[in-house]
Amino acid sequence: MAGARLEKIGTIFTRVTGLLNSGAMKPQDKPLWYDIYEAFPPKYEPRFDRPPVNKDIPPIFYPEDIIRANFYKKYGSTGTISLSDRNPRPSLCQRFVQEYQRLESEGNTPEDKLMEEAALALEAHGIYLDKSHAPPKETKTEEMDEDEPPRAPKTVKLDTLRLAELFKESQDEK
């Protein structure tokens, strides 16, 4: 195909147009895309010498960002968070923000108490952000005690275990 390989001058369209007008490219050799480009030109001309558009990039913030910041400042990281869109369980921070906004819209709580009230509201749902408020896990400790006796000999066994003993049965079978 005819054509100077100077991609920095003009665009592919202007270069082909020039070739067609001057007769260097015959009309039957016209590229397949030429009519399409003419009918649907790109929004921004693909010129190499195109200057960048001056546009400031604004920061994106939401009103609830302040609540989120206060939450993480007070309680720190709450463990791993699933970022999946399809996750049906909202994260702790999301639930906290929901409670905070609900209390705020009700308007019964003074602003400086909102953080504490939101944490208390979560406690009503069984989520204890402050671990000292959590009830003692009595039922669970009992279960643990029941589990312990079978576990203890296992660990003892592991210390005194010998390979010969381990394969004794299979050796006997043979």
């Binding site: 195909m1 270069r15 929004k43 921004y44 693909p46």
Partner: protein
């Protein structure tokens, strides 16, 4: 303005002549018609002229197709919400961006650029229309990408829509020295689609530069760290996430297939 109209007029004149010349070339089996002017050609009703007639009607259809803003109905293939769910809006970290991409960026969220999906949707619809038109005219489309994790997907996409792909090491003269590179005269692609416009982390893909040299239009996904200047139809969007690449591949494939189906429908095949 005068210069513009002159350019369009001369182009239109050239187009007419191109049409006539092509027809005369195509209908070389009937030598009686090759020397007759275009007007007479249309008037003659003799049986050998039927091939010429279908040729001119195809030309007419091609011309008409360009007047319609969305001839292949590709605009309905996706919504802005689909783009958002595919994480197309996620750009690179602030400071790694290219100043030419600033106009496509919605804002910066905690140090990360967020791409304006309204602009992305408009550019993507425009590009899909172009792809469908190229496929409608039986143009060769080449899918290009360089990220190894998306290589298989891109190659499968090209295969499924009956087109070509190049996802491997770019040997210098694939486009610019194709005759030597492939050992014989090679037909170059009519459109190059880049699913990833970077070759390495910092280097732009050579296909963009070489396509501009060889007068081949390009459609490319440009992330916030890419340079869209030489890309004919840039689409601002995330080019790293697998889910986003899957969406682009699906859309491009559908656009190509729509163009091909329309051609079959028009030709009555």
């Amino acid at each position: 303005m005068a210069a513009l109209s002159r350019r369009i007029f001369t182009h239109y004149y050239a187009w007419c002549w191109g049409g006539v010349r092509q027809r005369s070339l195509a209908s070389c089996t009937s030598p009686a018609l090759t020397s007759t002017p275009a007007v007479e050609e249309q008037l003659t009703q003799s049986p050998p002229a039927t091939t010429t007639h279908t040729e001119s009607s195809m030309d007419q259809i091609l011309k008409e197709s360009l007047k319609h803003p969305d001839y292949f109905q590709v605009a309905q293939l996706f919504t802005v919400e689909d783009l958002f769910r595919a994480r197309v809006h996620l750009g690179h970290v602030e400071g790694t961006g290219d100043p030419h991409m600033n106009q496509f960026i919605f804002g910066s969220r905690l140090g990360h650029h967020i791409i304006d999906l309204d602009q992305t949707a408009a550019h993507l619809r425009h590009a899909l229309n172009i792809i469908a038109h190229i496929a409608f005219r039986e143009g060769i489309i080449l899918f290009v990408g360089r990220l190894p994790q998306h290589q298989y997907l891109i190659e499968c996409t090209a295969k499924e829509c009956g087109e070509y792909s190049h996802c491997r090491y770019w040997q210098g003269g694939v486009l610019t020295n194709s005759t030597k590179q492939f050992g014989s005269i090679t037909r170059l692609p009519d459109l190059i689609i880049l699913l990833h416009s970077m070759y390495t982390t910092v280097q732009q893909h050579y296909a963009i530069r070489d396509a501009a040299k060889m007068l081949i239009p390009t459609v490319a996904i440009v992330d916030s760290n890419c340079n869209p200047k030489l890309v004919t139809y840039p689409i601002p969007g995330n080019d790293d996430s697998a889910i986003a690449i899957e969406l682009y591949c699906r859309l491009f494939k559908n656009a190509v297939l729509k163009g091909k189906e329309k051609r079959k429908e028009v030709l009555g095949l």
